[in-house]
Assembly symmetry: C2
Homo-oligomer: 117 residues x 2
Amino acid sequence: MVNNNKRLDRTFAALVDPTRRAILARLEREDGASISALAQPFVIKLPAVMKHLDVLDNAGLITRSKVGRTVTVRLRPEPMREAMDWLRRYERFWSQSLDRLAAYVESKEAEARKKRR
Amino acid sequence: MVNNNKRLDRTFAALVDPTRRAILARLEREDGASISALAQPFVIKLPAVMKHLDVLDNAGLITRSKVGRTVTVRLRPEPMREAMDWLRRYERFWSQSLDRLAAYVESKEAEARKKRR
């Protein structure tokens, strides 16, 4: 439970930053990217991108492999699954609001049908 | 998109801390709790709990209402929905691994059936 909590701490902390989320989102679309390709769309400098990659790596959300001079970064999405499972327990609140909305729409439709008769 | 990103920043930042997650999890089970009741299971002091509640409030994850001297804290789970939607795009990776596992089990079963013949 403690380890579980520490992993969640690291995952959520990694997801706090929009640059890191953008890197993850890109790696979701592309199967592996070089560090320079990853850094290219950002206005921040390469060392700052490297720091973000360190945070993602420490959270277990990416892997880095070096071939020659090129480091390829790949997504390792597993820790996000735990974060999502944690959030999932709140899902019933949204489905409840949808149920209430559906009930409201139905009652309005029933009213409208009555008036038409 | 920028506002969207800022909201996600705040939501994930609020979820980083295990005490704040425990408070949210409790409010998911109970419809409203007083601050002293919320603070009771933690070893940290009341002012520290109050600071955590401020973070949750700023992230729009709780509401606080005062009647007389009692402040009642309630869950406001909506921002978590956006966080979950963000995470959901990675879901296909987990279902892919499950698909691969299922295919592996099936091939093993087919092998076993062949051997029995």
